[in-house]
């Protein structure tokens, strides 16, 4: 194992933390937080990959020869905007789910029966014949 690649281990740690929070928690807000941690880990992957050893910040200067790669930062700026939009939309949905269901715990939320698509309704099929 190359000890110089520790940034990837940190990214993986962060990624797993986010995914765990996403899967293990029923609370919708916590799910969004988990999603954010997961996304941030990917941002870190990009940004740390843009770093060049001995490289200066990518601002043109006569005294510097080696610059870090600025492109990953620009890409991630876009990804952050996407992430902000996703989070905002997710939170807006949570507010409405709370209003509609009275709960934000994923385990207690389920689709209403009746016109339901998730239940197998072989019974109704028989009765329609």
């Amino acid at each position: 194992m190359d000890s110089q690649l520790y940034n990837y281990w940190l990214v993986i740690l962060l990624m797993m933390t986010g995914l765990y929070a996403l899967i293990a928690r029923g609370n919708l807000i916590r799910k969004i937080i988990g999603l954010n941690i997961f996304q941030v880990s990917v941002f870190m992957l990009y940004i740390s990959a843009g770093f060049i050893r001995e490289g200066a910040a990518p601002i043109l200067s006569p005294n510097v020869d080696v610059y870090s790669n600025p492109l990953p930062h620009v890409l991630i700026l876009t990804a952050i905007v996407v992430s902000v939009a996703t989070t905002a939309l997710g939170l807006a949905l949570v507010i409405r789910i709370k209003a509609a269901f009275g709960s934000i715990d994923d385990d207690t939320l389920s689709y209403s029966s009746g016109d339901s698509a998730t239940e197998l309704s072989i019974k109704t099929q028989k009765s329609s014949q």
Partner: protein
């Protein structure tokens, strides 16, 4: 919280500074670290701070949701319009060189217009989000979601 006189006084002192800092980040962004997105978020933060200190009604009076929607749309149009101007001046989409007779000046003008568009949209969207989540009435809930997504294409330049 809004009754606290210390917070109000400090806020009145701070908010203009935050706005000036946002403009600094905006105009510094052409050469150094900074740019429309960062500036937009800082400007949005100033408006949100104002809302926190002086209440929802005062904030809505200062910057109405209707105005924010207009501002967000105009920002996207400014960005896209700069791109289309490149086409109209016999260049490619988003080509800044053709905007003015001197390509270098054209580059300056192009990036300033683009960043201005980003500033308008981002600050409006961030503020609109804050309004949305704090609003008791639900009538404004769906609006910012829509333009939040339009903004994500803005920062690839």
């Amino acid at each position: 919280m809004s009754d606290d006189i210390i917070l109000r006084i400090v806020g009145k002192f701070l908010i203009p500074l935050v706005v000036v800092f946002a403009l600094y980040v905006q105009f510094h962004g052409e050469y150094g670290p900074g740019g429309g997105f960062q500036a937009g978020v800082i400007l949005g933060a100033a408006l949100i701070l104002y809302r926190l200190l002086f209440g929802d009604a005062a904030a809505r009076k200062a910057v109405s949701p209707r105005w924010l929607r207009l501002q967000a749309a105009v920002g996207v149009l400014l960005y896209g319009g700069t791109g289309v101007a490149g086409i109209l001046l016999q260049g490619q989409f988003l080509e800044y060189n053709v905007l003015l007779t001197d390509p270098i000046n054209g580059q300056h003008l192009g990036i300033i217009l683009i960043e201005l568009g980003v500033l308008l949209t981002v600050s409006a969207t961030i503020t609109a989000l804050a309004y949305t989540f704090s609003a008791d009435s639900e009538e404004h809930l769906s609006d910012p979601q829509v333009d939040a997504s339009s903004q994500s294409d803005q920062l690839r330049s």
